[in-house]
């Protein structure tokens, strides 16, 4: 008997018991759906996270002061003298409220020449002029500060002033430029929510010497951890030293463990699907004892009978896998919608969304897609081995006698 005819007969037997077959297919589909939907969300988070880090660059080391004492000019100088250090960017940050607009903002004091590095290589201006090193209150403001959160319309223009309230003090800045939309950043506050002002002015007006954060770039990816160790040694408990590399590694590990957990959870649904398949295959074989006897009387070999039922199991797995794949994509889209409703509205602006944990795009994970499909096929195949074997071993005489 050629394989096409065996598959056709297998299909006819399956469709004869439509409801039962559909329910079993559904059980398989649920497992695949869960894996596809959740892994694509995990992957989406990961991809948006990595994209944010790539903007900072893999050689970046972030040194932030821990206690009340800020990092001094001497500290900055000594760090810059360490081997393997190519760039050192000292900055001051404060967070406050923009008056009248009621948005939170991080005020970042930075040297004009170093802003480029901080923004990942480019100062991307929407309008106005770049920052200059002057001891006067000028500011380059982020996209979310210049635009209304819900309507995206411009609320602050170049040439206007903004007032930022930090604690009991209020600072007034004249806006010289507005930045384009950047998307989120992890270790630093997002450029979209930041107000960049000249470091010199910041120091003069705050009256406090020192830096809260120093960005260090190593000369080579391979020396990053050595440089980080040296900085830790130098500054001791006064600073927290974080490398982009280590954060990415940690995050990758977390993601892998999350996915493993996910597959184990989904596996329980595959156990259910396997038992379901075993059950219907067994019932199907017992129900068709006479019929199997007949097929054998007509000359069907034991091997072909075995194949006939194994194929039914595989068809359940295949259809379950494919529909689970489709449902998984639908579910992952639905989850995106649900998350954005429960966690809050998306930030305005074009491009990637501001908070990668609430507003990312799910990305199909090829590895887990493959795992899901392979799992669905093997589960149903394994579950139908015994029933198929039973069918192939039925004695035609007994089977035909069977009432």
């Amino acid at each position: 008997m050629n394989i096409y005819d065996v598959v056709k007969l297998a299909w006819k037997q399956l469709t004869q018991r439509r409801l039962r077959t559909i329910l079993t297919i559904l059980a398989v589909a649920v497992g695949v759906m869960v894996i596809i939907a959740l892994s694509s969300h995990a992957r989406g988070i990961y991809v948006s996270f990595i994209a944010n880090f790539e903007r900072l660059g893999p050689t970046t080391i972030i040194v932030s002061s821990t206690g009340t004492r800020l990092l001094s000019d001497v500290d900055v100088y000594r760090v810059s003298e360490l081997p393997g250090v190519s760039i050192v960017i000292p900055m001051r940050t404060l967070s406050g409220n923009v008056e009248g607009l009621n948005v939170r903002a991080t005020v970042v004091g930075v040297r004009a020449s170093e802003l480029k590095e901080l923004l990942g290589g480019d100062v991307n201006l929407l309008k106005g002029n770049p920052l200059t090193d002057t001891p006067i209150p000028i500011a380059l403001i982020g996209y979310n500060i210049a635009h209304d959160q819900s309507s995206s319309s411009e609320v602050v223009d170049v040439g206007q002033t903004i007032a930022v309230r930090v604690g009991t003090r209020t600072y007034i800045f004249s806006v010289v430029g507005i930045l384009n939309y950047y998307g989120s950043s992890f270790l630093l506050s997002s450029p979209d929510d930041s107000i960049y002002i000249p470091l010199d002015y910041f120091r003069r007006v705050s009256g406090v010497q020192g830096y809260s954060v120093v960005i260090v770039k190593a000369s080579d990816v391979n020396v990053v951890s050595d440089v980080a160790d040296n900085i830790r040694m130098l500054l001791g408990a006064r600073a927290r030293v974080t490398t982009v590399q280590s954060v990415v590694n940690t995050f990758t590990n977390i993601l892998n463990q999350m996915n493993l957990l996910l597959v184990s959870i989904a596996s329980t649904s595959f156990i259910a699907a396997g038992l379901g398949t075993f059950n219907i295959m067994m019932v199907s074989v017992l129900e068709r004892v006479r019929e199997i006897g007949l097929l054998k009387a007509l000359g069907m070999s034991d091997t072909t009978v075995l194949l006939l039922y194994l194929i039914q199991g595989l068809l359940i797995g295949l259809i379950g896998g494919l529909s689970g794949f489709g449902l998984g994509i639908v579910l992952s889209q639905a989850l995106t919608h649900i998350f954005s409703l429960t966690i809050g509205p998306r930030s305005p602006g074009p491009g990637p969304q501001a908070n990668p944990f609430t507003s990312y795009t799910p990305v199909l994970d090829p590895q887990y897609t493959l795992i899901a499909v392979v799992l669905s096929l093997t589960t149903t195949a394994v579950a139908s081995i015994y029933p198929s074997w039973r069918a192939s071993k039925l004695s035609p005489v007994e089977a035909l006698r069977y009432e």
Partner: protein, 230 residues
């Protein structure tokens, strides 16, 4: 033994074991069935008629003895060869028709050809030919349960013949039919012997029908007790 004999049984025993109880259903049957004859097997219930037919058809193996069909000792065939034998050399007709309810008439008749691995085009031709012999072509897209008992049994006979086997084995084929339909079936077998050169062996309870046959084999307690050539 010459070619004149289609089926030759030599001291055939079949002992069924149920737990520790042994029951000899056939007790040393010796029998020859000539080619191109219509044979009826009669006898009381439990006398071993079905067992005999199953052994000739290669559905069951005898405990002892040899069964030679068309010159082949089928007791020596392995499972795969035996399946092939059933497909090519034997056509079965059962009391309960045994049609597959989810296949159409056409697909039911097609089944032995599909099992044999005949290509699609040739299959179609052979199926239509077999359906035409029994005037079933108009029913070819119907399902078995839409047909009368007589029609279903004709479909089953068409299925038994479609592979063009020389030996037709029928176990009480008229048991579920009224006398008119029973007559049609037996006349069909007669025609297969007379016009198509087949050998037909039919188990029956109906003495009326034995007037159509060439040979009557009487069985009792697992033995052939009388062979009547008519």
């Amino acid at each position: 033994m010459g070619d004149e004999f289609h089926v030759v049984l030599n001291d055939v025993w079949k002992v069924y074991r149920t737990g520790k109880v042994e029951w000899p259903a056939l007790r040393g049957v010796n029998l020859v069935i000539k080619r191109n004859t219509f044979t009826a097997v009669v006898g009381p219930s439990g006398s071993g008629k079905t067992t005999l037919l199953n052994i000739i058809g290669g559905l069951d193996k005898p405990t002892r003895g040899s069964v030679v069909v068309d010159g082949i000792d089928i007791t020596r065939l392995n499972g795969r060869k035996l399946a092939e034998y059933r497909n090519k050399y034997v056509g079965f007709v059962f009391q309960l028709y045994n049609l597959l309810s989810y296949l159409t008439v056409f697909e039911n008749v097609e089944l032995p050809l599909a099992i044999k691995g005949i290509n699609f085009r040739e299959r179609r031709e052979l199926v239509l030919k077999a359906l035409d012999v029994f005037g079933l072509r108009d029913l070819s897209s119907k399902r078995p349960l839409e047909l009368s008992g007589g029609e279903q049994q004709r479909v089953a006979i068409a299925r038994a013949l479609v592979n063009m086997p020389n030996l037709i084995l029928a176990d009480e084929p008229t048991g579920n039919l009224d006398s008119k339909n029973a007559q049609v079936v037996v006349e069909t077998f007669r025609k297969l012997v007379d016009e198509h050169g087949k050998t037909v062996v039919m188990v029956t309870h109906n003495v009326e029908l034995t007037k159509y046959v060439d040979v009557v084999i009487k069985m009792k307690d697992g033995n052939v007790v009388e062979v009547i050539n008519q």
